[in-house]
Symmetry: C2
Subunit: 192 residues, 2 copies
């Protein structure tokens, strides 16, 4: 058989796997399924990712990076207005978390699918949430709110609730109230 443009092979495999993991969960997707979907031999996949765990970790790290990029893209136009930035982050999450068929935050799902705290996938998930919280705190501090800690935590609760609820009850569930909620939270914290 022919050759592949090797440079992009790894990324393409990861894309395929990520799509399947998002749609059906990590445990529910077998390596054979990824191979069939991608149309390669087993050799190729195992060359790029020596084990399924490696693939899963790469998938989760990609989703973490994606989250960070989405956040930074969402807040960049609002530089200088940290309150609006917090709302924008919630809005972005709301858009993403209520798409039909979404299963919620991949990192949070990985936390549930890999209960062993020593599993690398579990660790990636934990690290992700710690990082998100730290980032929200940075922004909250810029608002000049008297108590930026609780402000950041409130926004984070909304986001986490958004993903949990949006995946289950969809756009007409509790997630529908999230953006307006975040606006009120930011206003209350900054105009007090």
């Amino acid at each position: 058989m022919g050759r592949r443009p090797a440079a992009e092979t790894r990324a393409h495999i990861l894309d395929t796997a990520a799509r399947l993991f998002d749609a059906h969960g990590v445990h529910a997707v077998g390596l054979q399924q990824i191979i069939d979907e991608f149309g390669c031999g087993k050799n190729l996949l195992y060359r790029e990712f020596p084990s399924k765990d490696d693939l899963v970790v790469a998938y989760l790290q990609a989703r973490t990076r994606e989250w960070e990029q989405r956040v930074e893209s969402a807040i960049r136009p609002l530089d200088g207005d940290p309150g609006a930035q917090l709302v924008a982050i919630v809005r972005d999450a709301a858009d993403k978390a209520t798409v039909a068929g979404t299963r919620g935050c991949p990192l949070r799902n990985a936390f549930a699918e890999f209960p062993d705290p020593d599993h690398p996938a579990h660790r990636v998930a934990v690290d992700h949430f710690a990082a998100v919280r730290a980032r929200l705190l940075e922004i909250a501090e810029q608002t000049g709110a008297r108590d930026p800690g609780p402000l950041a935590d409130r926004i984070m609760l909304i986001i986490d609730g958004l993903y949990a609820n949006g995946a289950i009850l969809g756009p007409n569930g509790a997630a529908a109230a999230a953006v307006r909620f975040a606006e009120d939270v930011v206003n209350a914290a900054t105009h007090a």
Copy 2:
């Protein structure tokens, strides 16, 4: 071997299984492990629960009932003060969701562990969240708030965020802000 007090056998098996499921996740716990822990033969377990799915569904239904009972117990002393009732529900959830080693809401975890929408465990989880939302709406309506729908949804976002975040970041995570958050939300909605 002897006989067991047959009437309670089913409940005891379910207790044992539920404890293991909570601690390690459904997929991570094998039936053999439940049997070993309970100290019975395979026959007995399969007589009470013909398949693992039956056991899992019974486990989740028990957790749903448990949630309902906890809610009703928490709000009964506050009859006539629906605003305080909403806060009490959040407080109860906060206590439960931040216990060390907790893996979060069992229903939400089941949603992640059983991605197939047709799986009975998945359905139990979806039904649970719809029921919780409906109950919160009932209470929110009694507050006399101008807009009880968003109030209920805001409380639900806090609760869902609480479970998601509490399991991962623990009692010092964003969950720490939840009760105070709920109080402010209720106050803002009812004094407007």
